[in-house]
Amino acid sequence: MLKPLIPDHLSLITVPALALILVAIFAQYLTPFDPYAQDLTRALTPPDSVNLLGTDRYGRDILSRVIIGSQTTILSALALLAVISIVGSLIGAVCGFKGGRVDTILMRTSDVFLAFPQMVFAIAAAGALGGGLFNAALALALIGWTKYARISRSLTLTIRKMPYIDAAKLAGTGSAGILINHVLPNIAGPILVTAALDIGTIIMELAGLSFLGLGAMPPTAEWGAMMNNGRSMLQTAPWVILSPGFAIFLTVAIFNLLGDKLRDVIDVRGNRN
């Protein structure tokens, strides 16, 4: 199924994106130093040949922390996204396909969640649930799924009217078969694009919550939390804050590019007529 989705010219941007994900997965093998080992004698060392990105106030190697932070930030964003996009899309697809009371109840519920500004709700939910990366992600997920439910529902409603669905019914395919063979494969593309475009936003939101002290807790190396901890050193030791800042920027930029590209590719295919 992915084969027609990832043509050759997409690879230019998939390379850095995949590289980022690989770095995130194998982060613990890539760090030059233990990202949590303090060495107060080397605290706030500017970037040099030992600590390529310098050290923080505890003398921890920032490069190592940025690398291990990719794991925290990227993998949790991807995991969160995977959960909300799959759950949301399935709910939406079932709503769109079944209609009736199931649809009404689920969609009214999502209306309520949608009525909350995402970050506002996340801030409050993270507050209510207590800090921690998992709770921050959960807070974002509580609202996040609605978007995918909406998209997949409206896609399903469109697909439901397509002649090939009629053809499948005439071919004797049952509801489940139609959902699995015809509806889901066709909403997968747009959902994938939406999700890809969302990665950057989710990373920024998770980092934002951590920055506010509502996400990852110290000493966890998480980019937002690292920036928060480094704030007072913006002037005296800018590398402490700039390194995770640019890590976020770069990651978000790469995933945004990937999303844009993916959208172009899928749109071009979709708009062939």
Binding site: A37, Q38, T41, R57, P219, L234, Q235
Partner: protein
């Protein structure tokens, strides 16, 4: 459409008109002061001294004054009071300065002081326990205070900010009280106090500034940059890492060692911590020197016990186990805590030594200590789970902690007893570790009945040493406090008591 465009353009002009440029008023008569120490989180938002810690704000910002004040050696001097006489162990007679007037022009007489102290005892949460007053009588400029038991440190307690003398009849509307200080509050919010000169000020030195704005800026970085930017005339509570930014001719820094200490109490309800070896091992694993030197940027001294060395009962008189990782490991091993599964943490009966470390963030040094302790203890195989939350009281109440770390001024009144009664003796309000030592109880009882500084000092040393021997708490550092100000500011000094900030001497040249 045209109208829409016109509206957009005019709005644009409006914005660019009101923005831009530096809106710093370099007015010699207005003083803008940024502080991290004011606000709801510090429980001092307001100026009513009879409410929680608000008295600190009344005193610090020059609104009110106490009967006596501390000099830079933490010795008592008269302030509103002119003199005092200890009638017996239970009675003290205080003579009020005849010149003293409230900012509303009303004279401060014995009756006003009596009314104020009675209101204090009736309303404040800590004062009655400290003062133990049974009766107050007033006669002209004289006030006589009788206590239910011996209170050797009574005058010290009366010099606590809660003892600020205010005009009770003037009320407490809008969090504003009428005191006797050089400045008068005109607007008090949770984040800002606006002050104007007290034209009726009774002191010898008259206040020089027309207007003072005290702004609560709880974010150290904002504070730093606002100061650098010239938006503030002086600041309190800069992050240590920022201090070096002000080490130049444009600024002045006033520094003083305080009795503020960063301590951590072991919870004796935690089974693992009932073992002295474990407590001692943890105390020995904390690298206080580097914490002070690196994380506090040298703005303090590594602590031994609760009191700084400049006090007679301070660190020079006590001793504690030195930083020694191997020694700490041996102690743990002695008690059976050994890393058998190779996960880097010591374990016993298949359980890792894992402790909950509770602290809060409104004192910026505490999370630093927490993270440093976490890394330090990892070296001896103890796992610390840090919970740094400003909601720490809930966790304290629910007992959800094994170590509680806080910052505290141990000798605010220049006397040691307050610290022991509030934090150390069994059942004390702030005895977070539920430390219960018979020896401490005995010594405290003795201290309570002992008059005379030298004797009291000797007892305080014994008690401090007892705490250290029991490893009931560990003490990381004593803080050096710094005020940073523009170089045209004079008469603004950091005081070891941490009480006095804005005074009549303050001016801008």
């Amino acid at each position: 459409m045209k109208k829409f465009l016109a509206a957009m353009i005019s709005a644009g002009i409006l914005i660019s008109g009101c923005g831009g440029g530096n809106s710093v008023a370099d007015d010699k008569n207005t003083f803008t002061y940024g502080t991290v120490a004011y606000g709801v989180a510090m429980e001092n938002a307001g100026t009513n001294p009879h409410e929680s810690y608000s008295g600190w704000s009344t005193i610090r910002y020059g609104i009110g004054e106490t009967l006596f004040k501390f000099n830079e050696h933490m010795e008592l001097e008269p302030w509103i009071a002119e003199s005092f006489a200890q009638i017996d162990d239970y009675t003290v007679q205080i003579k009020i300065n005849d010149a003293a007037v409230f900012s509303n022009g009303k004279k401060v007489d014995g009756e006003a002081v009596k009314k104020c102290l009675e209101h204090l005892i009736a309303n404040h949460d800590r004062a009655p326990h400290d003062l133990k007053i049974s009766a107050i009588t007033a006669d002209g400029q004289t006030v006589t205070i009788t206590s239910t038991e011996k209170v050797p440190a009574l005058l010290n307690y009366l010099s606590d900010p809660y003892g600020c003398i205010i005009d009770i009849d003037a009320g407490f509307d809008d969090k504003i009280v009428v005191g006797t200080g050089p400045y008068r509050a005109v607007k008090v919010t949770d984040t800002q106090i606006d002050l104007v000169r007290n034209e009726n000020y009774w002191g010898a030195v008259k206040p020089k500034l027309e207007k003072i704005i005290v702004r609560s800026i709880t974010d150290g970085d904002t504070l730093t940059m606002a100061m650098q930017n010239g938006e503030l005339d002086a600041v309190q509570g800069l992050p240590y890492s920022s201090l070096k930014l002000f080490d130049n001719d444009n600024f002045k820094i006033s520094q003083v060692d305080t009795s503020r200490v960063y301590q951590a109490a072991f919870n004796f309800d935690t089974p693992e911590l009932q073992d002295l070896n474990v407590r001692r091992a943890i105390s020995m694993a904390i690298d206080k020197e580097n914490f002070t030197k690196v994380l506090l940027d040298g703005n303090g001294t590594a602590a031994v016990g609760p009191f700084p060395a400049n006090l007679s009962f301070g660190d020079n008189a006590v001793h504690a186990a030195a930083y020694d990782l191997d020694g700490a490991k041996n102690l743990l091993a002695e008690s059976g805590w050994i890393d058998t599964d190779g996960d880097g943490y010591v374990d016993k009966d298949g359980k890792n030594l894992e402790l909950r470390y509770l602290t809060y963030t409104s004192r910026q040094e505490l999370p630093l200590l927490a993270e440093a302790a976490q890394a330090n203890l990892k070296k001896i195989g103890v796992k610390l789970n840090v919970n740094a939350t400003d909601n720490y009281k809930t966790f304290l109440r629910d007992g959800e902690y094994d170590i509680f770390s806080k910052a505290i001024v141990t000798a605010p009144t220049g006397d040691a007893e307050y610290y022991f009664t509030s934090h150390i003796v069994s059942g004390a309000v702030d005895n977070a570790g539920h430390y219960d030592s018979a020896e401490i109880s005995r010594l405290e009882n003795e201290l309570h009945n002992t008059f005379g500084a030298a004797n009291r000092s000797a007892l305080a040393v014994q008690m401090s040493q007892q705490i250290l021997d029991d490893c009931a708490l560990f003490y990381a550092s004593h803080l050096r406090m710094s005020f940073v100000m523009k170089n045209n500011v004079v008469g603004f000094y950091a005081h070891p008591s941490d009480y006095y900030e804005i005074t009549a001497e303050l001016e801008k040249k």
